[in-house]
Symmetry: C2
Subunit: 387 residues, 2 copies
């Protein structure tokens, strides 16, 4: 194998993440590396924490970036909060709810699964029924923005139900943070994890998490050690502790944190509400373009995520061929269906920096052209270029 430096053909990323990265963030990523115990770096860690508190809308002291992807952020929540024999209710309406359920059993927890149809939101009444039936439950977990279906669930209501039955609420905000309203303190979320490569538009590999005081008390009061040394927050807190002398735990992914710092700074400069409005604005344009072609979004408008659009497959279209044509002909990536929805829909992301007018125009126009080549009988946008 003759190997050369890797110089990828650039793509426009409108799949389920990673999303396009702002040049300011890429520039930050490649700044000179410094030590992870350097006072300069320690100061930047404090800024990252403050910026994450802003993004999450929380005053939680324990608001930090876990040094691994969103899946590890999920595992941080479960492995720290669940002890063997604890009953955990997981509400499942897509792939990532299933993954939460898998985490519960791997931590030795007793799983109570509340299932909702894929493409629908988590049903608060079903959750309440499960909690009435299982008064021993300690935790409730659900996904805010289900990346596999493009559905938003009502976190505020679900947290209220969890608290009514004395459970803590764990929320998956991988795809929601920075793209739609999320109010950790206002909604009473006890533990939350997210990812960097969706609406924050930083490189993948880091997982922002936040835990409120009730959750921290549970972690501190554990009778057994956290099964993961790497993710044990009792140790990680010593490394990320505000003001305190940092205790070495592991080597932070320094350059990746430069990038996250810059991405969060961009979000703060824009303002959370403006960022949410921008996602909504470009979603509306994308929806208009897709509907003009005769395509339909599969999720009801009331629970539809602007940043992740599940598009029904037109009759007789080979979905993988279209995605391949978009990638090879237009350097545009859109996502396939996942799990039960594999082969049944596309997932078009408008996440973070990728939620912009040029991307919407490229997507609608090239999807139109690719479908014409496939003879899908779709003609609405007109050909801009002869390909």
């Amino acid at each position: 194998m003759s190997i050369k430096s890797f110089n990828p053909i650039p793509r426009t990323l409108m799949g389920p993440g990673p999303s396009d990265i702002n040049p300011r963030v890429l520039a930050a990523l490649s700044r000179p590396i410094i030590g992870h115990l350097d006072p300069q770096f320690v100061g930047m860690m404090d800024e990252v924490k403050a910026l994450l508190q802003y993004a999450f809308q929380t005053k939680n002291e324990l608001t930090i970036p876990v040094s691994a992807p969103g899946s590890a952020g999920m595992e941080t929540c479960f492995s720290n909060l669940v002890e063997r024999g604890d009953t955990v209710v997981v509400c499942q309406n897509g792939v990532f709810g299933m993954r939460m359920a898998e985490n519960v059993t791997r931590c030795g927890g007793i799983l109570v699964l509340v299932e909702d149809e894929w493409g629908t939101a988590v049903d608060a009444q079903k959750l309440e029924d499960a909690l009435i039936k299982h008064p021993e439950a300690k935790l409730v977990a659900f996904v805010h923005a289900e990346t596999s279906t493009g559905v938003e669930s009502d976190v505020k209501t679900l947290c209220a139900v969890a608290h009514k039955y004395n459970c803590l609420a764990i929320v998956d905000a991988v795809t929601s943070l920075g793209g739609i309203e999320l109010d950790v303190d206002g909604w009473g979320i006890d533990a939350i994890y997210s990812g960097t490569q969706k609406c924050l538009s930083a490189p993948p590999g880091i997982s922002p998490v936040s835990f409120n005081e009730k959750a921290v008390e549970v972690i501190k009061a554990r009778k057994t050690p956290v099964q993961s040394w790497f993710l044990d927050l009792n140790l990680v807190m010593g490394y990320w502790g505000q003001g305190a002398k940092r205790a070495y735990h592991h080597t932070a992914p320094i350059n990746a944190l430069y990038a996250l710092h810059e991405a969060l700074l961009l979000l703060k400069e824009e303002g959370l509400k403006n960022a949410w409005a921008r996602h909504r604005h470009h979603h509306d344009a994308l929806k208009a373009g897709l509907e003009a072609m005769g395509l339909t979004l599969v999720v009801d408008e009331a629970i539809r995520l602007p940043q992740l659009n599940a598009v029904a497959m037109p009759e007789g279209v080979d979905e993988a061929r279209i995605r391949a044509a978009l990638l090879s002909g237009y350097n545009l990536e859109i996502g396939a269906g996942l799990g039960k929805f594999a082969g049944k829909l596309w997932r078009i992301g408008l996440m973070g920096y990728a939620a912009n007018e040029a991307n919407v125009r490229l997507c609608v126009s090239s999807l139109d052209a690719a479908l014409k080549v496939e003879g899908a009988g779709i003609e609405a946008v007109g050909s801009f270029y002869t390909k």
Copy 2:
């Protein structure tokens, strides 16, 4: 808090890692992001695997970068190979051996600890005695290059002892890979993990691992699921499987892998033996410079790591003040002692790209100047600058 873009003052990194990064690697890091299922990225994944096989000197199919720091690579080895009730012998001669022991108990394994003095190598006879006493042992684990002390242990001999008693050998090669001889296949290592931020000189955040067929069989024959979903190699193998259709598991840290690819390519271009010789060459120069000042290396020459030099503290010197003076006055980072050795020595790294003549000259010269300011009565190198 008024937060601006983070523009660190550049440092020269001669601590225990991270090390200085080659500009080619920083340039790779900030190339445009593409999707983690993009055919271009999948092709690059295969190249990273091939380059890691070169660096580890192995034909092991399961040779991949774990998407998290070295501590998670360690946990990948233990959580996949240890089942509850398994007896594991850990040889401990520094901080990272202790961390291995911690991993065993967190996986529900029964720990047999073989202790050697810090600053000495792992004793093969003590290991053999422990294995005779514990015929039920399934695994043996030890550190090749102990970052906390600067000691190399004899991996080939220790693996032979482990195999004689039908145990698999897990090796920590975080600080050795790329800096000193390491021969995974030739030495019979069954499972190994490393880090990117030491002698590979890529950014921290990724952990290369490799497992031979015997180890893979153990993982496939487990009676219980791996307690970590994120690190479960049965799932990760589906994502990194050569030639096979990649099954989505998590989102790889794409840009960090660009950087690792470039760093490994640099190692291949230089050649492993040349890289090892370069580390030795600059170690010899550093040693000469330090000894000319009257400083002494604490580890016996026969087991001393060229890439990590433990330097005894001169009488009456405040080690933290000297390190702070080097950082603020010369933008030079050297490492403090860790664990039992805190306050007792400095750790001067010559790792990867940082193992070069300019760094050695900067280190010897500025350490000399800083010690003069402290009145440590040291005068060998002469003052080049008035500070």
